[in-house]
């Protein structure tokens, strides 16, 4: 299992969140999640301007096996989406912690503190 970057926070539903220097929050899925999904072949990204509550379905990732919802780990407004993933969805498998799906303007950054830190997430997935 690859090292989890220390600046990430995790939802129990296996999304990661990273607070950028500009105050935005990027969201992706964990190495554990991509491994469980298998080869990713399609991602459905949210529209810019959409507003999500924490825990709300914000996108879809499809592997050869199955489709899975991606839940927004914190509340906020979508300010950017990673179009690179639309063209190269396999990046989710090869570089899960660089492959962000969308970026939020968070409505309350303290929600990040409610997420799991890397140690707690590792424990949650039994590692």
């Amino acid at each position: 299992m690859s090292e989890i970057p220390v600046d990430l926070r995790f939802a129990e539903s296996h999304e990661w969140a990273r607070l950028d220097h500009d105050g935005g929050v990027k969201v992706g899925i964990s190495d554990h999640a991509q491994e469980a999904l298998g080869d990713v072949v399609f991602v459905e990204l949210p529209e810019i301007g959409k507003v999500f509550a924490a825990g709300e379905a914000a996108g879809v990732v499809e592997s050869v096996k199955a489709a899975s919802d991606i839940y927004s780990p914190v509340s906020g407004t979508v300010i950017a989406v990673n179009e690179e993933l639309a063209n190269s969805p396999e990046l989710v498998n090869s570089a899960p912690y660089d492959s962000w799906f969308f970026k939020l303007e968070p409505s309350d950054t303290s929600e990040l503190d409610k997420l799991l830190d890397p140690m707690a997430y590792k424990a949650a997935i039994g590692e």
Binding site: G38, D39, V41, F42, E44, V60, E62, V64, K65, A66, A67, A86, E90, N93
Partner: protein, 360 residues
């Protein structure tokens, strides 16, 4: 814990992700399902298919009984070594199972699905009647499928001279014994290749030899995407007890002649055909991004609705494809509902890829 094939420990050693398949612990993939798929289309790979059920049919009336039991006619197997594909039907013309039948020097060998083993054996026993026939399930045997354009060439270098010669000589849909191995030029991928039935205790050694020679192990995940691209039905998904071969792109496997051969399900098939077959199994191609999945609804303007029976991303075509059962009047366009949105799809013959070449 599920049933295990003789190769279970090897799968774990090779890093397989194991899944339950019809009560068996089988490898889903050994890392990347898509890479394994490409490996078979471009070179070759080896599948453990020891979970499949091998039944030998012997006795003076083996031929007569199979002519009664199966929709295809074993009379077509003019000499030992020939094989054919057939459905086994119930009285309503529904498919109890599909199988490959090999004619042996003495009797026949049936290879049926793993998930249907119990119902098949029960069905066969119930329809033995007064036929002088013996059924012998060969659960002591293992089975490997080595598939891909280079499969026969690569295996020939790893086996005895007599087996290598047999492998060179076999034509498609032929199979013959050599010692305690049975070697057939059949498969479930749309590529050239072999299926080899051999004693269970020899299987790990041979599998190791193949992997050692650079032939990649391939999991059930790629087996599924390969067979969907080849337009081959999967029992329990595309075909089942309530659909007939006429509605399953399998009409070619029904032997209507001679008209006097009263096989199980014949009367129902004739009635279905006389009334007009209501459905057909077609291929779908999604031109937009997304993935077609089993059970999604298919809508055909002015005709009606159908359903996807198998859907997947096609690694060879880099787009999503599906098999779907739709009204017989369906032409070349339809729509599929994915997560509440309707996407246009092309309706095609359900053979997307054969021998590495795209057919759509």
């Amino acid at each position: 814990m599920g049933q295990r094939t003789p190769l279970y420990d090897l799968h774990l050693a090779l890093g397989a992700k194991m899944v339950d398949f019809g009560g068996w612990d089988m490898p889903l993939h050994y890392g990347s399902q898509v890479e394994e798929h490409h490996q078979v289309r471009r070179d070759c790979g080896v599948f453990d298919v020891s979970h499949m059920t091998v039944i030998d049919v012997d006795g003076p009336q083996a031929k007569a009984w199979l002519q009664y039991l199966l929709a295809n006619d074993v009379e077509r197997l003019h000499s030992p070594g020939r094989a054919l594909y057939s459905a086994m039907l119930n009285e309503h013309g529904g498919i109890v199972d599909d199988m490959i039948v090999y004619r042996l020097d003495d009797g026949y060998r049936l290879v049926v699905n793993a998930s249907t083993r119990n119902q098949d054996l029960a069905w066969m026993q119930a329809h033995l009647g007064d036929f002088d026939v013996q059924l012998n399930e060969r659960s002591e045997l293992a089975m490997l499928a080595i598939q891909g354009p280079h499969a026969r060439h690569k295996i020939a270098e790893l086996v005895t001279q007599s087996r290598a010669t047999l492998i060179q000589q076999l034509k498609p849909f032929e199979g013959q014994a050599d010692g305690d191995w049975f070697i057939a030029r059949t498969g479930y991928t749309g590529e050239d290749g072999l299926e080899i039935v051999l004693p269970a205790d020899q299987a790990p050694g041979f599998f190791n030899d193949l992997v050692g020679a650079g032939i990649s192990p391939i999991g059930l995940g790629a087996r599924d995407t390969l067979r969907v691209e080849a337009g081959m039905n999967l029992y329990g998904q595309d075909i089942h007890q309530d659909v007939s071969p006429l509605a399953s792109n399998m009409a070619w496997s029904i032997a209507w002649e001679p008209a006097t051969r009263q096989f199980l399900g014949r009367t129902a098939l004739e009635a279905e055909q006389a009334a007009g077959v209501q459905h057909k199994l077609v291929g779908l191609v999604l031109e937009e991004r997304g993935v077609l999945r089993a059970h999604q609804v298919v809508r055909i303007a002015d005709v009606g609705e159908g359903e996807i029976t198998s859907g997947s991303f096609s690694p060879t075509l880099s787009k999503s494809i599906a098999l779907a059962r739709v009204p017989a009047a369906t032409a070349d366009r339809a729509e599929v509902e994915i997560r509440g949105k309707w996407y246009p799809v092309r309706v095609v013959k359900p053979t997307f890829v054969r021998h590495g070449k795209t057919l759509i």
